[in-house]
């Protein structure tokens, strides 16, 4: 792939596709005069010879190696000559060449027969051999543009059409390369494509078709409307979101469903915005409210609640991964995770513009504009809090910047860059550490040149006494000595307290005093270790990004932003991170705003407009490009106001639809004809269980949470599952991410259902206890109400947030009456409701 192609691809990234018909290029028959890099290597790619599991493997296969996906034709030629020299690659008697004999299966080939002996493919390789098996000028055959036509096609079910692919090369020539391409269809329910590029429409919807010529990919779209002439319903769009969604539905001729009822909306929007189900009181008030704009008012109300900030602090923690704080540098994992989370939560609560949020994370410095001495005071204060096991969360959350982000292990350098690209730009770049992923555009040089912006930030280290001011160097040296004395004193006190002649009161005082001394000792040893964690720009250091892998070592000394052609010049004293932030907040930035808009969309709909939501790539086109553009544009124009973004999506008719699709849209999963069902996130589900049952989570002390806190407020990791703590176990089985700094994937939070989840909901001892607790919800309801109908109603409201239907009521009352006691009957009712789909899903 080439730089030119890359920039073209970025320019066209997610833009509205246009129906273009390519002019018929001059058709040279490549089988007559094949060139190695232009024809033979792409043929290897098409046949799969250079794939990772075959000869593209670093070790090759059976002694013969090719460059992965044909990235390096010159190397491939050299390897071919080496492996197949002499009779093996025989221009004088090409049919005897081992290359052809293996590929046709005439001699045993582990990869089987790849081509027929009479095929065009065979002729191509044969003719290349006959003409001398030469390596052509690779540079001339560099692809400068790859065009597929039609780039978008509407086609009726059952019909077919052919894709044509035209390559433009660096020497200015163009060629029809269709026969050398591979074709893949993304949504196989919509269409099939065969090896010749013939597309057959199978089902209603639209799909991307990924076409690859050699190393270079391009995408086309196929759209298959539903047959049928029922008039499209006249639904009124609430805002531009609906206009785009309805336009697509109209094109596909599938109908949107009706709005959901008020109780469903209330539960849905509460769970989605605050992570908490509504209380019966809220449900009753909302149902009784006759105002026409009550949904809009509710959305505003919820966006102002603390739950909103907690939920998005959790979402950002998934991305920014508050863990891997090094104890050797005086940091305490759980306390730092808590500080980190509270800092993010405070920013969400004040609704900081998203570009400023990014700036205050990415540009973080420990000093925050203060003197070094003032920062050391903060360090010692934190050490004291850690020693007391009482982190002062308010103080840290008032900091201007989040230096903890850079104090994590692997936050800087190439690994840290992967995380920045993922968290803020919605890009997956792990593969680019070694090679370009066949379904993406990034090469090693793109990653390394971008990583250089993050090579000059200094993260956490053990303090170097030489660089410390004398007073602090002294403290670092003396601290542990003083601590030793304090510990000795503490021990004397405790020993003394054990003496039977000492009065009990005095002994208690001594023990308290000893504890105080031990705490001070901890602070004196741990505090100075943290002097080396100062996050700062270190201009004088000039190491550049490099990466070694089995495929080789590569280094970049350029500062180049992703998708840019030209490198930037960054002075030694400049903090290069500033250039990244300035680039991100530019309205024309192709990733920053879109990535966030797309992630917020995915939060509400379970899938991104680009899906997966963290895979922005021209080869992964959006379902609704104009909508994504409009949302991103509006987000930027509204100064990156996150609540504007939430409000716009929530106010749409699309969000407020029923989950039950119109019959024309039963199989649709991509076009929002109905509200998509989603399993509640681990934290939301636990909080919903506790709210329903009146139970509470018992949090381990190390999580630093106040009593009565919600699962949503847990900051860091919770420990291994073999802790008997049900919180950690539930988090694990319901897919709360472990936030591994080495894994960049939104899929780390796993929403898939499992058998163990079903067992947990049906039969976990703690859940059973919560339902039956004498202080629980059911017990309270039995105490507060005497009428069975009223009791049943309360149980319904607390669990599924709606009133029981007539049938529900009849069945439930009958069940309660037939039970050994009303309490037992109502416990079963609550168990039953907790185990419905309705409870575990947002619907």
């Amino acid at each position: 792939m080439t730089r030119v192609w890359l920039s073209l691809a970025i320019a066209a990234l997610f833009g509205a596709p246009t129906l273009a018909r390519a002019a018929e290029p001059a058709r040279v028959n490549p089988t007559d005069q094949p060139l190695f890099s232009r024809h033979v290597v792409p043929l290897f790619s098409r046949l799969g010879c250079n794939a990772g599991a075959c000869h593209g493997s670093v070790k090759g296969q059976n002694g013969f190696r090719l460059s992965l996906f044909g990235a390096n034709p010159a190397l491939d030629h050299a390897l071919l000559l080496r492996e197949f020299s002499g009779r093996r690659l025989n221009p004088f008697d090409p049919e005897k060449s081992l290359l052809l004999q293996k590929a046709t299966g005439q001699v045993p080939h582990q990869g089987g027969q790849r081509m027929g002996p009479e095929s065009r493919d065979y002729q191509l390789v044969r003719n290349w051999l006959v003409r001398g098996a030469a390596l052509d000028k690779v540079e001339d055959s560099r692809v400068t543009a790859l065009k597929v036509s039609p780039s978008q096609q509407t086609v009726q079910k059952g019909q077919t059409y052919r894709l044509k692919v035209e390559a433009t090369f660096a020497d200015g020539t163009k060629e029809d390369v269709t026969d050398l391409c591979t074709f893949e269809v993304v949504d196989k329910d919509v269409a099939d494509v065969d090896v010749t590029g013939e597309v057959r429409a199978k089902g209603v919807g639209d799909t991307a078709l990924v076409v690859r010529y050699g190393y270079d990919p391009v995408v086309a779209m196929a759209l298959v409307p539903r047959a049928g002439s029922e008039p499209f319903p006249s639904v009124k769009p609430n805002n531009f979101v609906d206009e785009h969604v309805l336009a697509k539905l109209r094109t596909l001729n599938i109908h949107p469903t009706d709005l959901c009822d008020d109780a469903t909306f209330l539960r849905r929007v509460n769970l989605d915005v605050t992570g908490l189900a509504p209380t019966p009181e809220e449900v009753r008030a909302f149902l009784a409210d006759k105002a026409a704009d009550k949904r809009a008012k509710k959305i505003d109300e919820l966006l102002g609640k603390p739950g909103y900030a907690s939920l998005w602090a959790t979402k950002f923690s998934d991305l920014l991964k508050p863990n891997s704080f090094n104890g050797n540098y005086g940091m305490v994992e759980a306390a730092e995770a808590r500080r980190f989370y509270e800092w993010v939560r405070a920013r969400m609560a004040e609704n900081i513009p998203y570009d400023q949020f990014a700036e205050r994370v990415l540009m973080a410095t420990s000093r925050d504009g203060r003197t070094r001495e003032e920062w050391f005071d903060e360090v010692m204060a934190m050490a004291e809090e850690n020693a007391k096991q009482e982190p002062n969360l308010v103080v840290y959350s008032k900091r201007q910047t989040l230096d903890l982000y850079w104090q994590r292990d692997n936050a800087t350098g190439v690994k840290g860059t992967l995380q920045v690209a993922h968290a803020f730009l919605g890009l997956r770049m792990e593969c680019a550490q070694c090679h370009r992923h066949p379904h993406d555009i990034w090469q090693q040089d793109d990653l390394l040149s971008f990583a250089n912006f993050f090579m000059r930030v200094k993260g956490a280290n053990y303090p170097d006494a030489k660089t410390l001011p004398p007073k602090l160097a002294e403290l670092m040296k003396k601290g542990p000595e003083d601590a030793k004395k304090l510990r000795e004193d503490a021990k004397k006190l405790t020993d003394k307290a054990k003496d039977k002649s000492v009065k009990l009161d005095d002994a208690a005082k001594m023990i308290a005093e000893a504890k105080e001394l031990e705490m001070k000792a901890r602070m004196l040893t741990e505090g100075p270790k943290r002097f080396g964690t100062e996050v700062q720009h270190s201009g004088e250091r000039s190491n550049f990004a490099s990466m070694s892998s089995p495929l080789g070592t590569q280094k970049s000394e350029k500062f180049r932003l992703l998708g840019d052609k030209a490198a930037l010049t960054i002075g030694k004293e400049e903090d290069p991170r500033a250039a990244v932030v300035a680039w991100m907040r530019k309205p024309e930035n192709p990733f920053f705003a879109k990535a966030m808009v797309n992630r917020v969309w995915a939060h509400y709909y379970g899938r991104g407009i680009i899906d997966p939501a963290d895979h922005l790539s021209p080869l992964n086109p959006p379902t609704h490009p104009e909508l994504l553009d409009a949302l991103a544009k509006g987000f930027v124009e509204n100064k990156f106001d996150l609540k504007w973004l939430h409000r716009t999506i929530l106010l749409s008719r699309t969000y407020q639809q029923s989950a039950r699709p119109h019959e024309t849209a039963k199989n649709d999963r991509r076009n929002y004809a109905a509200f998509p069902l989603r399993r509640l996130a681990a934290e939301v589900l636990l909080d919903a269980v506790n709210q329903a049952t009146g139970g509470a989570e018992s949090f381990p002390a190390r999580l630093f949470l106040p009593a009565g806190a919600r699962a949503m407020e847990v900051a860091g990791v919770t420990g291994a599952e073999n802790d008997r703590a049900s919180l950690a176990y539930a988090f694990q089985i319901f897919g709360r991410p472990v936030r591994n700094g080495m894994v960049q994937c939104d899929c780390e939070r796993d929403p898939s259902p499992t058998i163990v989840q079903a067992l947990y909901m049906a039969n976990h001892p703690q859940l059973r206890e919560k339902i039956a607790a004498p202080t629980g919800r059911v017990a309270q309801i039995v105490k507060d109400h005497t009428d069975d109908a009223k009791r049943v109603e309360e149980v319904f409201l607390w669990t599924v947030g709606r009133l029981p239907s007539k049938d529900d009521l009849a069945v439930s009352i009958e069940y309660v009456k037939a039970s050994p006691s009303a309490k037992r009957g109502l416990e079963d009712l609550m168990w039953g409701l907790i185990n419905t789909r309705e409870f575990s899903l947002n619907h």
Binding site: A51, K188, E430, N667, N722, H764, S812
Partner: protein
């Protein structure tokens, strides 16, 4: 040795290559093909986290110098010509039931503890940038789930320590094992697997029918998520309704005499529970026979403590499975991450040694009364019939009737060959 028929099928069905979307077609093709004949229906893994000392267990070298041969002597087994360590007397009486692999190893010093992943998955990669390979049990869960009223894959012990691939592997969480301590009466996970005491089946069913009549809001939606949840919930209820699992988990039902044969310690109890679960129909049980087989110091004292415990538990397991005929269809494997250095260090310990180790395999199509391969006079290097770990993985899958060359898709759709390398089966170990 490599080009099996199935591998060629792979390429034909794959059509255009390894990456991308031809793989589902391939999988369809594979589903249509008749399954290979399985010799084993069950697997019990006894995992010795760390590296058990092969020189003191299954590959003794009495003629080596004292600083190598160690303190223990070989004893005869019930199979003429096969000797094992004196601390394994009951296993010695059962040598006709198992095969000792002496010529296997991760063949590299650098693996050290990462070798655990190698042995449990048949593939050599540590976790890091990409998700781990799945353990054999996860693959069985994926490809050969259990009959409806028992779980497919159960794991005992500390699976977060020196065990690899059981969780967070590329197949995703739906095939994770259910993890608990069968001998821990307070285990909440165990509590989750059996209905609460006092809840009669009729009450259970009555409550369930109430639930069904209330679970109507989302009925009739052809949604894959609802479909999946329905299926899993049904499986969960079947499991709770059935007496099979409940009964199997009541290890205290086992006569005292039997429990004593296995050893009245947590390890013996877990192996006993493994047998009971397999008898109830559970396809795969993994038991972590403690993590601390890492005798850098005081190796001989540790052996004296641990080997008799292991000996009792595993010998009893083999005896019982053999007596009921279950051994024929049940693979039992006893192994750790690596071998240990021939030379005894200054702390009377043996350090990490990846070049060779001993593995015990029995049942499910494995031969009995055999030894495969040999090491040199110091039990340091393989001198006969070396097999890499991939061969071990392939042999396990072969006996399970699972094609090790098939491609599985990771959660992110990246295709993975089940066992990446082409290596021969350990045919000498197969009955």
């Amino acid at each position: 040795m490599f080009p099996s028929q199935s591998r060629r099928d792979f390429f034909f069905a794959g059509g255009t290559g390894i990456f991308g979307l031809t793989m589902p077609q391939l999988l369809q093709a594979r589903a249509a093909a008749p399954a290979k004949k399985a010799k084993a229906d069950h697997v019990i893994v006894v995992w010795l986290g760390g590296g058990p000392p092969h020189q003191d267990m299954f590959d003794l070298k009495p003629n080596a110098p004292a600083e190598i041969r160690g303190e223990y002597k070989p004893i005869d087994t019930n199979v003429p010509g096969i000797q094992i360590g004196e601390l394994l007397p009951r296993l010695a009486k059962n040598a006709d039931k198992y095969t000792i692999l002496r010529s296997v190893g991760i063949n590299s010093e650098k693996w050290e503890h990462g070798g655990g992943q190698y042995w449990l998955t048949g593939n050599p990669r540590k976790t890091g940038v990409t998700p781990a390979y799945p353990m054999y049990g996860n693959v069985v869960s994926k490809l050969r789930p259990a009959p409806k009223d028992v779980p497919t894959f159960v794991a005992f012990g500390d699976i977060d320590n020196h065990a690899y691939g059981l969780k967070q592997n590329y197949l995703g969480p739906t095939v994770d094992p259910i993890v608990f301590q069968p001998d821990d009466a307070k285990s909440e996970v165990k509590g989750m697997l059996v209905p609460p005491v006092g809840l009669e089946l009729s009450a259970f069913d009555r409550r369930e029918s109430l639930r069904q009549s209330l679970d109507t809001q989302l009925r009739g939606l052809e949604d894959p998520l609802v479909g999946g949840m329905d299926k899993f919930q049904q499986t969960a209820f079947d499991l709770l309704r059935s007496p099979k699992l409940r009964t199997a988990l009541e290890i205290e039902r086992e006569p005292l005499k039997v429990a004593e044969r296995y050893g009245k310690n947590s390890h013996g109890k877990r192996v006993l529970a493994a047998r009971r679960l397999v008898e109830a129909g559970v396809p795969f049980v993994y038991t972590h026979f403690e993590s601390n087989w890492d005798h850098h110091g005081q190796n001989f004292r540790a052996c004296k403590d641990k080997l008799p415990v292991l000996d009792k538990a595993v010998a009893s397991l083999l005896e019982d499975l053999s007596a009921t005929g279950m051994l024929e269809r049940t693979i039992v494997m006893v192994l750790g991450e690596m071998g240990r250095t021939p030379k005894i260090n200054k702390d009377a310990g043996r350090d990490h040694w990846g070049t060779c180790q001993s593995v015990l395999v029995a049942g499910g199509g494995f031969a009995g009364g055999a030894v495969v391969g040999a090491t040199d006079k110091h039990a340091a290097y393989v001198v006969d019939k070396y097999y890499p770990v991939e061969s071990f993985g392939r042999t396990i899958y072969h006996l399970l009737g699972i094609d090790p060359d098939q491609t599985l898709l990771a959660l992110d759709n990246r295709p993975h060959r089940l066992i990446g390398e082409d290596t021969p089966l350990i045919k000498e170990a197969i009955a």
